[in-house]
């Protein structure tokens, strides 16, 4: 059929031009490249933590970046995944543990999201905060398999089939593979209609629902998917460190997760990777940062919000544009955080007759 190839080219959504698969390859090459040059146990530890926090951040990108839902529950789902996997791997293998984390994490997220489905933005945020608080108390008091105050020790290192990931190098490689898988999943969402529907929902919820976008389902999906990512990250963390305690999963962690996403750049899939790198690497490299950690994190949050709403990725993009002399695309003009304030509430109401 003549002309069909140009039609197909025209029909390619602009988002495809961002070459996400190349980006994935780049991230893979960089992370394995780094892995091959690091030597010390300490550096391996940082790489592992980076991979896990990246997964956590990518999940939050789905919940908050795309889904526009102001949630403090990411840390709680991280914990839920960790405890689920620790529970499941008492008898089953590592992959079953991750599976249990995904299933339990997603189910709990779904039930919670349905409970607060009609809540608007602020109520949803406080609801997720309350959820985190409840989760911490339950982790602490529910002692069916953990010791007093929610401590679990002796969680086995990952093992797939007969291959044990018992050295630092193997464990790091495994975690990076998990991170790349997570990135791949996010890229699939990114290239599917889900992304633009979610953006439409966030920025113009009324318009989105009149266009037939199932706004309520979309919100649920994003929340459940992102929480599932957090649960997987938690499961990996449990098997990496081998022990759990409730302090690891406080609301503080959820605030760190905000920093990961916002500092990295809320509008980009690479943002969480950069943000996680900062959160993991900076306090270790600079004593100064470690001593004043809270003060600096808080200040960074405020400064990023005031001066760089698109985070580190935004700075790189601006530099890149400067080098190539390109004009801005319409999407560049969007404030990534300027969600339609009625998005959640209006979306829910519009979905109901």
């Amino acid at each position: 059929m003549p002309g069909s190839s140009t039609d197909a080219a025209l029909a390619r959504p602009p988002i495809y031009r961002r070459q996400q698969y190349l980006g994935l390859l780049g991230v893979g090459l960089i992370s394995f490249g780094l892995l091959s040059i690091v030597q010390s146990k300490f550096a391996y530890g940082l790489m592992q933590q980076w991979a896990i926090f990246s997964i956590l951040g990518l999940g939050f990108y789905l919940v908050f970046g795309l889904g526009g839902q102001f949630a403090f529950s990411q840390g709680a789902f991280f914990g839920l995944g960790a405890y689920s996997s620790a529970w499941a791997t008492r008898n089953l293998s590592f992959l079953w543990g991750v599976g249990a984390a995904i299933i339990i994490g997603c189910l709990v997220a779904l039930v919670f999201a349905i409970i607060v489905f009609r809540a608007d933005h602020f109520y949803f945020a406080i609801g997720t905060m309350a959820f985190s608080f409840i989760a911490i108390v339950v982790f602490r008091e529910f002692t069916a398999f953990s010791r007093a105050s929610g401590e679990v020790v002796g969680i086995p290192k990952p093992q797939i089939a007969n291959h044990a990931f018992n050295t630092d190098y193997k464990l790091s490689a495994l975690l990076i593979v998990f991170m790349l898988l997570a990135l791949l999943l996010v890229i699939l969402v990114e290239r599917s209609p889900l992304r633009r529907e979610a953006l439409a929902l966030n920025h113009h919820s009324q318009v989105a629902s009149t266009l037939g976008i199932p706004t309520g389902k979309l919100r649920l999906l994003m929340f459940v998917l992102g929480s599932g990512f957090a649960a997987v990250a938690g499961a990996l963390q449990a098997h990496r460190t081998g022990s759990l305690s409730t302090e690891q999963f406080s609301v503080q962690l959820s605030i760190d997760i905000f920093l990961i996403l916002l500092l990295g750049g809320i509008g980009s899939i690479y943002g969480p990777l950069l943000g996680a790198a900062f959160v993991v690497w900076a306090p270790e490299q600079m004593r100064f940062i470690a001593n004043y950690r809270g003060i600096i994190y808080g200040a960074v949050l405020i400064i990023v919000m005031i001066l760089f709403p698109k985070g580190l990725v935004g700075i790189f993009e601006a530099l890149w544009r400067l080098i190539r002399g390109k004009r801005k695309t319409p999407e560049d003009g969007l404030d990534p955080l300027a969600f339609d304030e009625a998005a959640i509430d209006g979306g829910a109401n519009a979905a109901r007759p």
């Binding site: 409970i115 309350a130 608080f133 405020i302 304030e341």
Partner: protein, 293 residues
């Protein structure tokens, strides 16, 4: 019955503290539409300032209280300048996240300043006369003080909002900043003033609650969560509704601890809140249904 009375009084006292904190947070919310996540840390900081003045410098308790309230008033106004004013006009998400940043800074600064160990703050009553006996139950006087102080604060605030020029201006600011400005409301001052007052109110809550528990960086955070829950139950913006909800939360927590399970007592109010969100997303007392977050 001998279990009932102490639980009732403690519940009301806790509810009162929650009510004061919730009112401080509603003050900012009403004037600027911002949900301030640093509210609990204002209470914590207030308690620490009082501890610092009494233990390290031997100030008397009333002067320490006044110091805490004045210092927090100034800090509240400063935070308005640093974390809110540059962001006005931007999405409310941005503002809320920067209040989170402010909360982090305050907490970390407290640890740098006073160290991570817990402190205790005196109660204004002599050591031997800490309790009174009512209906056969020993009630701490501090709890009665808390309840009394809350009643005074609530009445004053309601009068302030409804009857004075200041209250009208705050409400004008809340409904439309630009129009308020055109009508001659000094919006910059008003914003700073409401942040300052709100922080001062939280500091007052902080010094009142401090003698009933140990003073740690987490002191205010838990109270803030309950205050948020109260604001939701009461339907944001409805002052009386929020006070009633705060009392209900205090009572649910205490009776839950006394009669159901003390280990899970902390979460009963939140379960109640989630049930209310599920069943009646606008809060029990209606009011403004949509918070500008």
């Amino acid at each position: 019955m001998e279990k009932f009375m102490p639980l009732l009084m403690t519940g009301i006292a806790q509810g009162s503290i929650i009510a004061i904190t919730a009112l401080g947070f509603l003050l900012i919310y009403k004037a600027t539409g911002v949900v301030n996540f640093a509210q609990g840390d204002f209470s914590t900081l207030g308690a620490y300032v009082a501890v610092w003045a009494t233990t390290k410098h031997g100030w008397s308790l009333p002067t320490a209280w006044i110091l805490a309230i004045v210092v927090l008033f100034i800090i509240g106004a400063l935070i308005e300048r640093i974390a809110y004013a540059p962001l006005r006009g931007r999405s409310v998400h941005v503002v809320v996240i920067s209040t989170l940043g402010a909360a982090l800074i305050i907490q970390a600064a407290i640890v740098r300043w006073m160290g991570p160990l817990p402190y205790s703050l005196r109660s204004p009553f002599p050591v031997r006369e800490q309790t009174v006996t009512w209906f056969g139950a020993r009630i701490p006087k501090q709890n009665l003080l808390i309840i009394g102080a809350t009643i005074v604060c609530v009445v004053l605030l309601i009068l302030l909002f409804q009857k004075t020029q200041f209250g009208r201006q705050v409400r004008a600011l809340a409904s439309d900043r630009q129009v308020a400005q055109l009508q001659g409301v000094r919006t910059t001052w008003m914003s700073m003033l409401t942040f300052g007052m709100s922080a001062a109110l939280s500091a007052f809550a902080g010094v009142l609650i401090a003698p009933t528990r140990s003073v740690t960086v987490e002191l205010g955070f838990g109270v803030m969560l309950y205050a948020f829950a109260a604001a939701i139950l009461g339907g944001m913006g409805n002052l009386v509704g929020v006070v009633v909800a705060a009392l209900a939360i205090g009572l649910v927590r205490q009776f839950g601890a006394g009669y159901i399970s003390s280990t899970y007592a902390e979460i009963f109010p939140f379960l109640l809140m989630l049930v209310v969100i599920a069943a009646k997303p606008q809060g029990l007392f209606g009011g403004e249904s949509r918070a500008r977050l």
